[in-house]
Amino acid sequence: MRVLVATVKTKTGLHARPAALLVNCVSKFTSTITIKKGEQEGNLKSLLDLLSLGVEQGDQITITVDGKDEDEVIAALNRCATENELW
């Protein structure tokens, strides 16, 4: 299991385009990927879950990845975040 903790930097928070980017980035992997904000938790492969979390700029999020391709997921997430200045 791999865990990624980050503070969201992107101005719009994780709605709109950034949310779609993240979901598209992880949906092809087999690992279970959850995103947590405070007490709330959701499936990062689900746009509806991610939008429901309502992640804003400055929020701290914890992404947990569990599965065979977890290392690749973390790498892909980091790449996506850097390219789009998400966190």
Binding site: K11, H15, V23, S27, G42, N43, S46, L47, L48, E56
Partner: protein, 575 residues
């Protein structure tokens, strides 16, 4: 006659085409074969996805990128693993039918997303409903039906969603009538972009009209006539013809300069209350936005808009205007508006109460949040900030101090801020109008708000029907004040504009030019009619008209003189 919300102007006459209601028998059924039910659900999902992919391709082919984006969001919803497993689990565990499982799962997310206070999230709720409806229609068999349109018709429907209108053969559609929706609904936006009349929010219209019934739709008044008599038809045929002629004549003005016969260029700007009006302003050739109202961001919601939400909104306006000047007015709200998030007290006299800048100076957080968003957006275009309801220099100075503090703070935080953001005021309180010369030493620009200036000068509440006959911008006192404001602003070397209704009323154009006004801001739909007056105006005749009118003692005489003058310039224009 049926009344609704006028959503797109114009008049159309023609037979009705009533689109069938999307009603599903959403009863909860207990099923035996769980696997078969899940298969049925997946087949409907696949069918809906194929349809949406077709819509995406169609939109891309027609280069409608915005529409394509809407459908791409729809596809993501259809592929959402939580939505799919949510439905599957309910079928598995509770042995319910796919329709019921989908409905409850979708409602769960609708509830969550409706709580968000961003416009973006509320749009996603509409997407989610649209997508769910399509899947339900495939579950019912066959999927969404596309009506055949063989002849000209007026569409009547309970509601029209993006996926409905995308496949409608629109070339024969003459207008739209829907039961739900407001001026920003999808139907309204589509109708305006097609320049077809639309009336929305007409209750129970689908039950009262049958396909083939003869309809008249008046998109200006929000009126719908069903099987009208021959007199009404004749009246509306004539109105329609007049509109056609005017539209053609005005359209020829779009690309022409707003220049008087004497060669003076007049700035014609647009008043905008909601972002959807921006494309219209640009289309009608506005030189910029003379008044961007920000109230829409605050009304009809329980919480205040965040700095981020406001920043996005202001940025979008500035970007859309492509470097043309945009005057954004800070929040102008008071006790007559229901704003739950501010907990405003009901006042005896709201128009003389805590409103406009007074409210902002009392609720500093609201004010500084808006100013932060404005300054952050300032790097994306040519922003000017305008304060409403200023009645003394002390107020103006206090507001400017806030603005300067916010600006300095942002720079300290490392935000990029535009080097020069002009700050101006609305001149709508007589005390300020009288002191324009003193204000001119401190403000960058003034804009005359004639609606409030008229009501405050004449002590006539413009909402009170009993005294509405006393409310008239033709009153000599109002015109004298306006003359004074324009003259003193010009003497003081500052820009003076007008953004009240008078600016968009062609009867006043020549007079105002005669008084020295060079910048007019009005609702986009008035731009061309005023441009026509500008092009017919001559400095000498305009000055003579101003002199003559300002000497008249009553509003009635002034009205008569201006209406005569307008007729003269009309005939001059045609000859």
């Amino acid at each position: 006659m049926y009344k609704g919300v006028p959503a797109s102007p114009g008049i159309a006459l023609g037979p009705a085409l009533v689109l069938p209601k999307k009603q599903f028998q959403l009863e909860k059924k207990i099923i035996q074969d769980v696997t078969a039910e899940k298969d049925r659900f997946h087949q409907a999902l696949t069918a809906a996805k194929t349809r949406i992919e077709g819509l995406i391709a169609l939109a891309q082919e027609q280069e409608q990128t915005e529409t394509a984006k809407i459908f791409e969001a729809h596809r993501m919803v259809l592929e959402d693993p939580e939505l799919i497993t949510g439905v599957e689990q309910q079928i598995d565990q509770e042995k319910v039918n796919a329709e019921f499982a989908l409905e409850t799962t979708v409602n769960f997310y609708i509830n969550l997303l409706s709580q968000a206070n961003s416009a973006y999230m509320r749009e996603r709720v509409a997407d989610l409903k649209d997508v769910a409806n399509q899947v339900l229609q495939f579950l019912a068999g066959g999927g969404p039906q596309i009506p055949e349109i063989k002849e000209d018709c007026i569409i009547v429907a309970a509601e029209l969603t993006p996926s409905d209108t995308a496949l409608l053969p629109l070339d024969k559609v003459q207008g739209f009538i829907t039961e739900v929706g407001g001026p920003t609904s999808h139907t309204a936006i589509i109708a305006r972009s097609l320049e077809l009349p639309a009336v929305v929010g007409v209750k129970k219209i689908t039950a009262s009209v049958q396909s083939g019934d003869h309809l008249i739709i008046d998109g200006e008044q929000g009126a719908v006539f069903v099987n009208p008599d021959s007199d009404t038809i004749a009246v509306y045929r004539q109105k329609q013809e007049v509109l056609h002629r005017q539209k053609k004549e005005l359209a020829s003005l779009k690309t022409l300069a707003a220049q008087t016969k004497s060669g003076k260029t007049i700035k014609l700007l647009a008043n905008v209350g909601e972002p959807w009006e921006l494309p219209k302003a640009l289309e009608y050739g506005a030189d910029g936005i003379g008044l961007f109202r920000t109230e829409y961001l605050f009304l009809n919601r329980d919480t205040l808009p965040t700095e981020e939400e406001q920043f996005q909104a202001y940025k979008e306006v500035l970007v859309q205007m492509e470097g043309k000047p945009v005057v954004i007015r800070t929040l102008d709200i008071g006790g007559d508006k229901n704003l739950p998030s501010l907990n405003l007290e009901t006042e005896m006299n709201p128009f003389l109460g805590l409103r406009g800048i007074r409210l902002c100076l009392k609720n500093k957080t609201v004010f500084t949040t808006q100013l932060r968003a404005l300054y952050r957006a300032s790097v994306h275009g040519q922003l000017k900030i305008m304060f409403p309801m200023i009645s003394s220099l002390e107020e103006y100075r206090a507001a400017v101090k806030c603005a300067e503090e916010v600006r300095a703070q942002l720079i300290e935080e490392g935000h990029p801020v535009s080097g020069h953001v002009p700050i101006g005021i609305m001149v709508e309180v007589p005390s300020t109008a009288i002191m324009t010369d003193l204000f001119a030493k401190e403000v960058d620009f003034v804009s005359i708000g004639t609606n409030d200036l008229t009501q405050y000068t004449l002590a006539v509440d413009r909402m009170n029907e009993q005294i509405s006959h006393l409310y008239t911008p033709f009153h000599p006192a109002v015109l004298r004040l306006i003359k004074m404001v324009i003259a003193q602003a010009r003497d003081g070397g500052i820009e003076v504009s007008m953004c009240g209704e008078m600016a968009g009323d062609p009867r006043f154009t020549s007079l105002l030019i005669g008084l020295g006004l060079e910048s007019f801001s009005m609702s986009p739909s008035a731009l061309l009619a005023v441009k026509k007056q500008v092009r017919a105006a001559k400095s000498t005749t305009a000055k003579a008209l101003a002199q003559k009118v300002l000497a008249l003692p009553t509003a009635e005489e002034i009205r008569a003189a201006l209406e005569n003058a307008e007729e003269r310039s009309d005939s001059a224009c045609e000859s």
